[in-house]
């Protein structure tokens, strides 16, 4: 394991792109001590008892919002939740005004999900608070990538040298981009697989392999990270039908058993059962989907704890 730093090099968590390899190792190591904490009878530590965190969600979320909220509460922070759909955003308030109004109530950190790429970066330049990106459009979702890396290293001991295939709607996926950056910084090999229309043109410049045949991708990899087709972001048709997609790119038990090795199946959720993955695979022993969810809380605790340490 590489030498870890004593503190993060950044004030905000806007994307994996801004983190150094040392930062990532520090987060993953801290997360493993938090995983011990959340498996104790008393799952709470007082580290952030003087910090107030606002979860600002301009887009729907189940896992990420609950996971952040739980992580914040396990660290004893005060938490407020804000969902754009039930707020004055619909009355025409701008992003900076909305956030500055929240900050006027003495909030220290903002966890934000927003449909526009770069919303977190924009906000970090204009308001006086620490920003954690919980997903910005099709750009980045850094905590998801960190928890995926944590889950892989939990399975295999290390991420370096592992072969990870990211399969599905790469074009609209923030999870894919953050995962590619994070896994590469940790020394893993990454392959993306999907229909030509859902693989962005520039992706080869990141140094990933590209494959359009699901079976070849699965034969190559140690870990398959299955992504959802993001119909809500698709304004045109990228493939003829969902049925055809699931026949060509859906992972089912028959394909999995035809491989001559055991691979680990991951999925960031939400799952569309029967589309990108069948129920018998999602619920099989190959799948670590629910471990990912549990690790999400520990990893987010580590991120919040380490960023809070950057406040004086």
């Amino acid at each position: 394991m590489a030498e870890t730093a004593q503190q993060l090099s950044t004030q905000h968590l806007l994307g994996i792109k801004d983190l150094t390899t040392e930062d990532i190792h520090l987060i993953l190591e801290t997360a493993s001590t938090f995983k011990d904490v959340i498996n104790r009878p008393i799952k709470k530590v007082p580290s952030l008892r003087d910090i107030t965190i606002a979860n600002v969600f301009f887009e729907n979320s189940t896992r990420t919002r609950l996971s952040f909220e739980l992580a914040e509460k396990r660290l004893s922070a005060d938490v407020i939740n804000f969902a754009a759909s039930s707020s004055s955003v619909s009355k025409g308030e701008t992003l900076i005004d909305t956030v500055n109004n929240i900050l006027a109530m003495k909030v220290d950190m903002i966890v934000m999900r927003h449909p526009y790429p770069g919303a977190g970066v924009f906000l970090s330049k204009h308001v006086n608070a620490q920003i954690i990106n919980a997903g910005d459009g099709a750009h980045e979702h850094p905590t998801q990538a960190l928890l995926d890396a944590f889950s892989i290293s939990e399975q295999y001991g290390d991420v370096a040298g592992k072969k990870v295939a990211i399969i599905g709607d790469i074009l609209h996926s923030r999870v894919a981009l953050s995962n590619i950056l994070c896994l590469q910084k940790l020394g893993a090999e990454v392959l993306v697989c999907g229909p030509t229309t859902l693989i962005p043109k520039y992706i080869a410049s990141l140094g990933v392999k590209i494959e359009h045949d699901l079976l070849k991708a699965l034969r190559w990899c140690d870990v398959a990270n299955m992504l959802r087709i993001q119909l809500e972001r698709q304004d045109i048709n990228y493939f003829p039908s969902l049925r055809e997609y699931s026949m060509l790119y859906g992972l089912n038990k028959t394909i999995l058993e035809s491989l001559d090795k055991k691979i680990t199946i991951m999925h960031p959720g939400p799952i569309n059962r029967g589309v990108e993955i069948t129920s018998d695979v999602a619920d099989s022993k190959h799948s670590i989907i629910l471990d990912q969810v549990q690790n999400g809380v520990a990893v987010r605790m580590a991120v919040l704890y380490l960023l809070a340490g950057k406040r004086i």
Binding site: Q7, L26, T30, T33, I42, S47
Partner: protein, 183 residues
């Protein structure tokens, strides 16, 4: 940096043995007592005490744990070098209704012990908590905390440092007092 040795050699060993005898007076066979070393430096003393106790009592089952207090500190975010990277906590038993002996190498301001008392609650409600330290830097407490078992007492000023070395990790067993040259 000036160094003076406060304790070493046979006297060091006798001090550990005396602490063990005092523990045996109060805890008898240790059936309902547990030893908890505080990370990072308290665990060496705690391990040594347990070894000595097990040898004396001819048992091999004294419960032993390591406690990390990083997340419970009151100086988190008040240190210039950022948050302290945690050590591991290894306590594989509940301390409900047990007599807990907390062990650290040096007692100075008492803040680490305050944090430990917070941290230990995550493992149950002990019947009683006692504190054993090898070095008590007296008259320097920030909190009303006093040890139950003391190796040696030292009068020191704030700029001085007291370091305990162990032959397991350092060259030999000794307690040293470091003084800045210009003091």
């Amino acid at each position: 940096m000036q160094q003076s040795i406060l304790l070493s050699g046979p006297k060091f060993q006798i001090t550990i043995q005396r602490l063990c005898q005092q523990l045996i007076e109060n805890h008898h066979d240790f059936k309902n007592s547990v030893i908890i070393g505080i990370q990072p430096r308290g665990i060496y003393l705690a391990k040594r005490i347990r070894e000595e106790l097990q040898r004396t009592l001819k048992v091999d089952d004294i419960l032993f744990g390591e406690l990390d207090i990083t997340f419970y500190r009151d100086d988190f975010r008040r240190k210039e070098n950022g948050p302290l990277v945690p050590n591991s906590t290894n306590i594989n038993f509940v301390i409900e209704n047990k007599k807990v002996i907390l062990i650290d190498d040096v007692l100075w301001t008492g803040r680490t012990i305050r944090s430990s008392l917070d941290a230990i609650q995550a493992f149950g409600r002990p019947e009683k908590v006692e504190l054993l330290v090898l070095v008590d830097r007296r008259f320097s407490r920030h909190l009303p905390i006093q040890p139950d078992y003391i190796g040696i007492q030292v009068d020191s000023i704030n700029s001085q440092r007291v370091i305990v070395n162990w032959h397991e990790t350092d060259t030999q067993d000794q307690i040293i007092l470091l003084t800045e040259e210009n003091d």
